[in-house]
Point group: C2
Chain length 447, copies 2
């Protein structure tokens, strides 16, 4: 008799923890992922700002799962699910293939949303995947290089102005790190500019940074950002963007900020797969395209299909929507795995999924973080110690933990940022100033 | 009175060691480089095969020179030298600029040469810069992923056949590492292919591997390669190449090897700047475009212009042309710096440049290398220990030394290769099988 076939779409936190929880279960697992690596998103901002390498935050899936015998890893993008025949269609490099399932776990994550302004994407890369983070790394460090070559003070100012859109954990951490670059790492390394002159502007449409952390921590974070030289513009909406600047509506009215380097850390959009699944199953989706799931994380009417993590929309017991954070995906993955095991054992279904909020963490500068755990609110150095411990715990691979600590020692105790390589492929010149009109850029494209 | 102005083109071994040797000299140095990092080329093959990250072998120039006050680092490509007015023209991202010099050191390195077949470049990336190494990393690891998805045995074989062209140190080390991947790192990680089935073929038109190391070591290296499962085709010329294979003329006649992944580690070509300098100065160049320099490393008739490293053509005292290796560039850089200092002190010129051959090193597999130092020939583990020591010594940055050792422990004692990230930008699918014709690839381009 054939073993139960579980197909998992997505090798992020949700998919990976579901698979690991089933390592001894009598199932044949097929994991489908668009890349060969598992991305540790919480530290992506450190890769974008030169502290960590890609390898440290993106271990190969096959190495993560090398001891698990019941999983088959296949590269490819799941394009559609045929729920009647229980078949997933996948597009892979050079091949199209299909995989049959008895149970399906969909954990494909979410992308940034530009709120209908997709044309912003070229000017303000997101912070959801390695390609974007590499592009941003090239742009951020490249901006200082290019500023150093400018003779017109307006050009210098434009290249030394950085705008981060979105004051959640990702945007706040990015703004903090760019400020560290400007005020701690790079000063003294340039002969024609003073990196201290850089402006780092953090923008959000809501009225607080780290809005979901509560008033107390939000206020402390805002103070820390100010101490670091970050300008925070709240209640500010982005209404336009081009290669050389960004247009905002603030409380003061319409403003244009000349800035070559913009980071988009706002908004969320479920992948097209979510829409396709919702269409064939009749499930409802929210404004971001996330699928409204039943309390047991399955698609209504389809107990064999779980949707987890950033792709799902589910409220906690207070009616508050669960956030798109790692713990929600991890616990969802483990819950789905438990349900699969119970079904294989012929047991009745478990209680509904109950999210255990282990707290929120965000670090803004070295030795200073904010942590919210239950009713406990911590900030400053104690919170930073917890931040280090938690991230080390979840970072995959002993070697990665050691090199991460080493890199942190270099960047936080010392002033080094060694992982700053920007390839010619990603040369800022090509992407950001293509519209700026530059013969050298065109020559680059022809090389 | 204005200080002596030294302009250095190129931040490789030649330029960097010249600059460091002048850190206390009364000169104003301008360093012009196309990227913001110094590339440690001898370990580029380890980045291409997943052992080291880019940051470990490409430290930022500004961090390397952060303590040196008399140097100004400027991003850009030197396009031409006006020797009459002593002006270097530079194209930078978004700007064109010129730099005046009293003394000029040209150390811009060399690129791969495809011997007139530039169309091979898309199919067989070189091993001279980070962009190429990243592309190769994506292709090598991607090949195993894609092979695992194939159903036709011929397709599997094509994706699991790797051809390295050029059996000098670079090609030999690459072939050895790919063999390690196939026979040590990856087995057990795939469900549909057996990585042991991979073929690694090392090709060269000459009759020996590591030709310049002498018969004894060449023979030992050949034996080590065979032990590792590398097929070595000597006296073999590459006569054609396309996306899916490579055409060679061997002693047996014409053959086509179906292979998706090719590495070009052969040939050398000086950059266009060399041709321009030769034209305006009347200097002679060799077939690879390298400039024939005087015994004091200057351009004949232009004592104020030094040409070093891979760009120069100079014979040693036996009439043998100096190879394009790191030590030649390093010693040339230091020699040029000494001449500059002597001139500033009003001293007569030094003796002609004399290259002190500190030996040659190449490692083929873990714990096994070949070393040629003077009359001493070493192979196996003792040579490998020397290899480790030498590379650690020259690797810039304490942190890089520690993480490199850690990475080597992981890869050589353990079986891990963690630096395997291939971005979607570099997806093998886009570059190598574009001509293979694949709707998914075209879709990728449209994303």
């Amino acid at each position: 008799m054939q073993r139960h076939r579980l197909v998992v779409i997505g090798a992020g936190f949700g998919g990976l923890f579901a698979i690991k929880a089933l390592r001894r279960a009598p199932v044949d697992i097929t994991l489908i992922n668009g890349t060969a690596y598992h991305l540790f998103q919480p530290l992506l901002y450190q890769m974008a700002t030169g502290i960590l390498s890609e390898g440290e935050i993106a271990p190969p899936i096959r190495e993560v799962l090398r001891r698990q015998k019941n999983v088959d890893v296949r590269l490819g993008w799941a394009t559609s699910v045929d729920t009647a025949n229980k078949i997933v269609s996948v597009s892979g490099p050079g091949i199209e293939y299909q995989v049959e399932y008895d149970t399906l776990i969909v954990a494909a994550g979410a992308a940034q949303s530009y709120f209908g302004n997709d044309q912003f994407a070229d000017h303000a890369p997101g912070m959801k995947n390695i390609d974007d983070a590499l592009e941003l790394r090239a742009r951020i460090f490249g901006a200082f290089e290019i500023a150093d070559l400018q003779t017109d003070p307006d050009d210098v100012a434009r290249w030394l102005t950085f705008v981060v859109v979105g004051a959640g954990p990702t945007g706040t951490e990015m703004a903090g790190q760019i400020a560290e670059l400007a005020h701690r790492t790079l000063p003294g390394q340039y002969r024609h500019i003073d990196p201290h002159q850089a402006r780092i502007i953090l923008v959000d449409a809501v009225g607080a940074v780290l809005n979901t952390f509560g008033d107390h921590l939000s206020t402390r974070a805002l103070r820390q950002l100010h101490l670091m030289g970050v300008e925070v513009e709240l209640n500010t909406k982005v209404v336009g963007m081009d290669a050389t600047g960004i247009e905002v509506e603030t409380e003061r009215g319409h403003e244009r900020i000349p800035s070559m380097t913009k980071v988009w850390a706002a908004g969320v959009a479920a992948p097209p797969l979510a829409r396709q699944i919702a269409e064939v199953t009749g499930a409802k989706t929210d404004r971001a395209g996330r699928i409204h799931v039943s309390p047991d994380l399955t698609v209504p009417g389809h107990p064999e299909i779980f949707v987890l993590g950033d792709m799902m929309n589910l409220n906690d017991e207070h009616g508050v929507q669960l956030p798109g954070v790692a713990q929600v995906a991890i616990q969802g993955g483990r819950y789905a795995a438990r349900q699969v095991k119970r079904r294989l054992d012929g047991q009745p279904p478990d209680k509904p999924f109950k999210y255990f909020d282990k707290g929120s963490l965000a670090t803004i500068s070295r030795f200073s973080a904010v942590a919210s755990v239950g009713k406990l609110r911590l900030s400053g150095f104690p919170a930073w110690v917890i931040w280090v411990a938690v991230h080390l715990f979840y970072l995959v691979g002993f070697k990665n933990r050691v090199t991460a600590v080493l890199h942190w020692a270099v960047s936080f105790l010392g002033r080094g940022r060694s992982e700053r390589v920007a390839t010619v492929q990603q040369a800022f010149a090509r992407r950001a100033i293509r519209e700026y009109g530059d013969p050298f850029t065109r020559a680059l494209d022809d090389r």
